[in-house]
């Protein structure tokens, strides 16, 4: 263990020190240049490593992935659209895709709605109560999906009828003399997928609440006051004055959660590993890439994901441009 800790320290220091050294050398190199050349080269010395990292770890692999998606499992020859045809004619993949759509429809909306509710309610508490409530609701955000899945086993865990139940839900059923239910294996009405969504929502509501709460607090008081003078009721003030002003934030939260949900992987992988009709494309991607070593399928799943994300990307860039102009 001691050796392990020493090695760990060396690795940390070496990694960080190495990065600092690179910048020092880059700067020395550009300073050795004279006059205008120094001014021309220096920006690239400063921004270069970041651009390089993005090029090597995002742009180049994205292009390669597109290429792989038209090739066979080991990328030795091109197969045209065969991977896509295979995927879409595979019922298990269609199930995963269907589940993803379900996640996309339900999770972002519920997260925004719930976050808005908590934001409004906590706004009426005294500062100390507000802070405590927010901290509690927000805390799960710091917990990994693996951790969250473990935590929720205290609620959803199942033992065969007759043995003591260690999950709260099944113990409650026992009190009413009902047989225990294997929650994660029950795919009627996609119940198990919905329970997995509950876990994800549990970790995300805090994020939604914090953003919406700060947006609500930033609504100018006089706009609310004006509504009140004009005789609007509390509900009318909320829907016609507050909501329009926090709409931008609601969209932001929605999109952020949406992106997270589109590529959801951890929670499904840890709890059911995609079994019992709970599969999603993020987990299927992992299986194709790592378990079956099928680069072609894995790449085409990513390309499908990318295509789905393009509208969000366009929105993002437009939004950024608009904001730069407003600056």
């Amino acid at each position: 263990m001691a050796l392990k800790i020493v090695n760990a320290l060396l690795a940390i220091i070496g990694g960080i020190g190495g990065a600092m050294l690179i910048f020092w050398i880059l700067n020395k190199l550009s300073e050795s240049l004279k006059g205008r050349w120094e001014d021309r080269v220096k920006p690239w010395m400063f921004a270069g490593p970041a651009i390089l990292a993005i090029a090597v770890f995002l742009i180049y692999p994205a292009i390669t992935t597109l290429q792989y998606s038209f090739a066979n499992d080991q990328t030795t020859s091109y197969v045209g659209f065969q991977n896509y045809i295979d995927l879409f004619s595979d019922p298990t993949f269609r199930t995963a895709l269907f589940n993803n759509v379900l996640w996309i429809i339900l999770v972002p909306v519920i997260t925004v709605g719930f976050g808005l509710l908590v934001a409004i309610l906590t706004d009426r508490l005294r500062p100390r109560g507000e802070k405590l409530t927010k901290t509690i609701i927000f805390l799960p955000m710091a917990i990994s999906m693996v951790g969250a899945a473990t935590i929720w086993s205290t609620i959803f865990s199942f033992q065969p009828a007759g043995s003591p139940q260690t999950g709260l839900l099944n113990a409650a059923l026992g009190i009413f003399g009902k047989d225990p239910v294997s929650w994660y294996q029950t795919s009627t009405l996609r119940l198990n997928s919905l329970l997995l969504m509950v876990i994800l929502i549990w970790t995300q509501v805090g994020y939604s609440m914090v953003l919406l709460s700060s947006a609500i607090k930033a609504v100018p008081e006089d706009t609310v006051e004006a509504g009140r003078i004009d005789g609007a009721g509390e509900r009318r003030i909320f829907t016609s004055i507050i909501v329009p002003q926090i709409w931008g934030t609601m969209v932001t939260v929605f999109i952020t959660v949406l992106i997270g949900v589109m590529k959801v992987f951890d929670i499904v992988y840890v709890v059911t590993n995609g079994g019992f009709n709970t599969d999603v494309i993020g987990r299927r991607f992992y299986d194709e890439l790592f378990t079956f070593r099928n680069n072609g399928y894995a790449a085409s799943i990513v390309v499908i994901l990318m295509i789905a994300i393009i509208p969000v990307l366009i929105y993002q860039v437009r939004h950024f441009r608009a904001e730069e102009l407003a600056r």
Binding site: F46, A50, L58, Y68, L121, I309
Partner: protein
């Protein structure tokens, strides 16, 4: 994302996180004022908070119960006899941290997580700060276009990189090494880091940088002496984000570090989940070893975390 960017990390509004009394005390928009909550609101929030924390409490209780207790009854049954010391134990934690023989050793996984997360947090910050400086204070051809590309890349999921990277790392022979995960996280965290730092730096007073230049300071000196110290809030926000993100990551660790000697807490905990026989009683304590650092970081630095979020921190 970007909708809140006017409120950015550096914005004068400073973001209405709940630590700002002036904003908390401000009259509520429902016209009823802070502290005006009726009993209905209090009850609803009370129930919600209880629901939110019950699962965590359950796992926490279980992590101190011996095997026969954990498997023989629900965690809530400790209420019957909370002071019966035979029903409590610390051995789960001892076993899960110190096990040497083949089993999952969370102690070593914990150290590995630190080895992965610290450089994967500090290096992107260093690289991105330099880049943000160039994007904000230097004039160069292509600057704006490159930055728009970075903004677009914010929403791109990491999965795009994984297929080729796994192959590339295999060819380079660096699979299962810390270097492999560091590099991946540096790349994946870079767009967000550059974006946050550049937005922050563009709110710093330009005159200050100009006067440093007139005094003969080089860009390198201005960067270290002036910009980095002034950018601490943005750096802190991003650092917490990136640290939590890397610490909690499962996919990248699973692909590039696997389950060998270099395994991290998330992968180790996930490996334990499959346990049905011996070792099952260790899952709750292992989970707390895995989540304790994020929770401490989160509770102690919540303010910065919230600032980061409201400044448009989204990661594809």
């Amino acid at each position: 994302m970007t909708a809140n960017i006017q409120l950015g990390v550096g914005g004068p509004e400073g973001l209405a996180d709940d630590t700002k009394p002036s904003q908390v005390l401000k009259q509520s928009k429902n016209g009823t004022g802070a502290g005006s909550a009726g009993w209905a609101v209090r009850i609803v929030l009370g129930i919600l908070c209880t629901l939110w924390m019950i699962p965590v409490l359950g796992l926490f209780v279980n992590s101190f119960r011996p095997r026969d207790q954990q498997l023989g009854s629900g965690w809530w049954s400790v209420i019957n006899n909370p002071l019966d010391l035979t029903k409590w134990t610390l051995s789960n934690y001892k076993n899960v941290i110190l096990t040497q023989d083949g089993g999952v050793n969370m102690g070593s996984a914990f150290i590995n997580s630190l080895v992965v997360a610290l450089p994967a947090t500090v290096i992107p910050i260093l690289v991105a700060c330099f880049a943000a400086y160039a994007f904000t204070f230097m004039q160069w051809r292509g600057r704006d276009i490159v930055f728009v590309v970075i903004v677009g890349l914010l929403v791109i999921p990491n999965q795009v990189a994984l297929v080729p990277l796994l192959k590339l790392y295999g060819q380079l022979g660096i699979n299962q090494t810390f270097l492999a995960v560091w590099l991946a996280h540096i790349g994946f965290g870079m767009p967000l880091a550059v974006y946050i730092f550049r937005n922050y730096m563009s709110t710093l007073p330009m005159a200050l940088i100009e006067s440093a230049k007139i005094d003969g300071a080089s860009h390198f000196t201005t960067f270290w002496r002036l910009i980095i110290p002034m950018s601490t809030p943005a750096i802190a926000s991003f650092a917490i984000f990136q640290f939590l993100w890397v610490w909690n990551d499962l996919l990248v660790a699973l692909l590039f570090l696997g389950r060998g000697d270099n395994t991290v807490v998330t992968v180790a905990l996930q490996g334990l989940q499959g346990q049905t026989g011996q070792g099952r009683e260790l899952i709750p304590s292992a989970a707390f070893v895995a989540i304790i650092i994020p929770i401490i970081v989160f509770l102690s630095l919540q303010r910065f975390f919230i600032r980061g979020m409201t400044s448009g921190a989204v990661k594809g």
